[in-house]
Amino acid sequence: MKKFGRICSNRVIDRVIVSMAILAALLTVFPQTVSAAERSGDPSAELRIGVQTLPDTLDANASVSNAGIQVYYNIYDTLITRDSSSKTLAFKPGLALEWKQTGEFTWEIKLRPNVKFHDGSTMTAEDVAYSLNRVIAEEDPAYVTAHSYLLANFREFEVVAPLTLAAHTFKNEPLFEHLLSDPNAGVTSKNYVKKVGIDKAALAPITTAPYKVAVFEPGQKVELERFDDYWGAPAPFAKVSFTLIPEIASRITAIMTGEMDMITNIPPDQDKVFEGNDKITLIGTVFPMYHIYCFVTSNPVTDNAKLRRALDLAIDRQAITDSLWEGKAEPAVAYQFKNYGDTLYFPDKEDIEYNLEEAKKLLAESDYNGESVQIYNVSNYYTYADLAAQAVIDMWKKIGVKGELVEVDSYTAIDRKKAGIRTWSNPLYYNDPMGVIERHWSPKGEAANQKEFLPTEEYVRQFEIARYSPNSQERVKALRWMLDYFRSETPFIYLYKPYESLAVRRGIDYQIPFNLRAHTLGLRSGEIKASGR
């Protein structure tokens, strides 16, 4: 120690130490080491969530993504809301108090009075009309997606009076409530966006929701604060933070060490890490979404419907979910979701099966000549997609079909001249058959645009009826026809509904909300509660 003391007394080292220490101390402003909840003793003071992905924008109209929906649901109000506590589909007034169809293509919407924006201004019909019309007008390229899947049938939202709007549609709109209750049709302040511009407003939006955005660091974190002038029940937490922790091991460590109160996107093979841990609760769910194989039906190898049907019949979905998903994912039995409700879900159309004999028969009737059926997969995008593809390729060997997995790094790297199949997902955006069909299998949709899906004229006709008909019996008939079409033509293969968990620390009461999109985190009143630590 004596020697060390002498060494350190050297003037050079002394100067280095002192100057570095001063600089470091000046630069390092240590924030609090404990959460607000721990400091105050109030468990509802703060909720810290570690997430796998964060949205790049907080403009809900601009991003239809799983990353976005986690946050948008909590920071945007919609005209109509879905009852997240009801096991059956139910709509409730949101920013609109009443709405009714006044003409074949016109709806009248009466707004809730005295609704405040986060900046203290009062919401009017001007704000609602602006928020939705800018999507219809595609004022930013990012609005094209929300326009296409939510507002394609809306011509204009017209201001009739300070608290009254008229919604004009191109065709009849049987899904009015479904569409206007999606957070991607959220409402923002017109004056604020006009003042700062669309891009700046996307970083710090001003809305009417129970939480307001305090901090947004894209790619890092979003911090929300309770909005005290909210028109409805106050938010359960004074502060909520979403922190991006892409690696699953790091997310698990963060909740284990108490750095986070909740973490998302836990794949089934990690569930055992939490076994015996009474401080953390795992909440697992099968998402209203299918992992699917989209055929490129314009490809000469996969242009034969009998081959496509044979490939579908040769997949043992139960074996895949048992081995890869530890039995927790749900094998597809129909091209439908039970979430539609009893009137639109048809049990007699549960016709997805594993039937090798039938597969071999159809294969023999097809024009298959031993070519390789290439499955294009974007690496690390869909959980276990690569492993599932390898299992499927093995299963196809049993009927004599040669498969090949091609890993690519992006969607655009898919070569549709070579690809027979690409991996995809079909989430249910709202609880109606059109909640999955319109987004993915519309005659004007992306699969059709890429010439992967080549709908017939009759399909186009039936789609129009199923989508827009005011007559529910007609819709049912058309939907049944479409299911038969999907069966016989097999433009895609539904594999399974994936399973994922989120983990919450002891003392937080949470359950996956009903009627909302997959990956939505319900942090509003009645959806989550902190009862202690």
Binding site: T33, V144, S148, A202, G219, S250, T257, Q450
Partner: protein
């Protein structure tokens, strides 16, 4: 400093500027070979016509040459462009994130220099002891392990098993411990080796033997005479510590989710956020070039022999 020296330094400055320009060209065009940033933003695909609208908004519909001329013009006005992902000025992103890297880097630098020099002197003083020979081997082992392996090991031990240190982010004093340790481990060892070797080389000189013969004592001779003369290679190495921190930030910040320049650059590359990639690489390259230039001046000031060689 004579005229020839000034000319030499100006020449070095010009070379630095040309290097920077080369980097601008290389990064601009090579980043565009990776594909479209818009397609990276929409991994599930875009709606018909949406890509064209985005390309028009961000100017990607122009030829690469036109895009480069616009970029260069803006750059000369100090405008690094706007992030495609974050929708804000690259300068604002750089300022915020480089401060985060600086928070870590200053601690790592201070620790590396102080521990490295102290350790080097200690080893030189006790070079024949058994403990030092063990320490030398341990240092060689630690130096050869990549820092991301050490980072993951520390995380597993202190966060996952012992639960005493936070695993990610930059919220508190405790958050600094593991990333700073990872940043400074390699530089500490390399500085210690340079100091040790410098001292050992110097103590074989005649004037040291004379000092010892005068009865000054081993430690006093080493610290008072040998250490000063061993400083020149150490100065260069200390400068390299900053380069180590700059380059190491890409890995360490990503492992610990530390919101600094390295973490931002890795994400920007994955997202193909061209303006951010260009801005950060230019910024980092500027630091390394400026640092080399300063080190050269510093070495000239410390050792007149280098001054003469350069002028010649």
């Amino acid at each position: 400093m004579g005229n020839r020296m000034i000319k030499y330094l100006l020449r070095r400055l010009a070379v630095g500027f040309i290097t920077l320009l080369g980097i601008v060209v290389l990064v601009f065009f090579s980043s565009r070979l990776t594909g479209s940033p818009i397609e990276a933003m929409y991994p599930d695909g875009l709606e018909p016509g949406q890509l064209e609208l985005f390309n028009a908004k961000y100017g990607f519909d122009k030829s690469y040459a036109d895009q480069f001329v616009i970029y260069l013009k803006n750059l000369l006005h100090g405008d690094f462009g706007e992030s495609i992902r974050e929708r804000r000025d690259v300068r604002a992103i750089l300022t915020a994130r480089s401060l985060e890297t600086l928070r870590l880097g200053v601690w790592a630098f201070a620790l590396s220099v102080t521990c490295g020099i102290s350790l080097g002197v200690c080893i030189a003083l006790n070079r024949e002891s058994f403990a030092v020979s063990i320490a030398n081997n341990v240092m060689a082992l630690l130096f050869s392990i990549p820092n991301f392996i050490i980072a993951i090991f520390l995380m597993l031990l202190f966060s996952f098993k012992l639960k005493i240190l936070p695993s990610q982010g930059g919220g508190s004093a405790l958050h600094y411990i593991m990333p700073v340790a990872c940043f400074s481990l390699g530089p500490t060892i390399s500085i210690a080796w340079y100091v040790k070797n410098g001292i050992l080389e110097t103590i074989s000189q005649n004037y040291i033997r004379t000092a010892v013969a005068k009865g000054l004592g081993k430690a006093r001779t080493i610290i008072g005479y040998a250490f000063r003369n061993a400083l020149i290679p150490v100065i260069t190495q200390v400068g390299m510590v900053i380069v180590d921190i700059v380059t190491g930030s890409l890995v360490i910040e990503t492992v610990f989710s530390w919101p600094g320049v390295g973490y931002t650059l890795v994400n920007a590359v994955l997202d193909r956020d061209f303006p951010v990639v260009q801005g950060i690489i230019l910024f980092l390259a500027g630091i390394v070039i400026a640092l080399n230039f300063l080190l050269e001046i510093l070495c000239m000031m410390v050792d007149p022999r280098i001054n003469r060689e350069a002028a010649a």
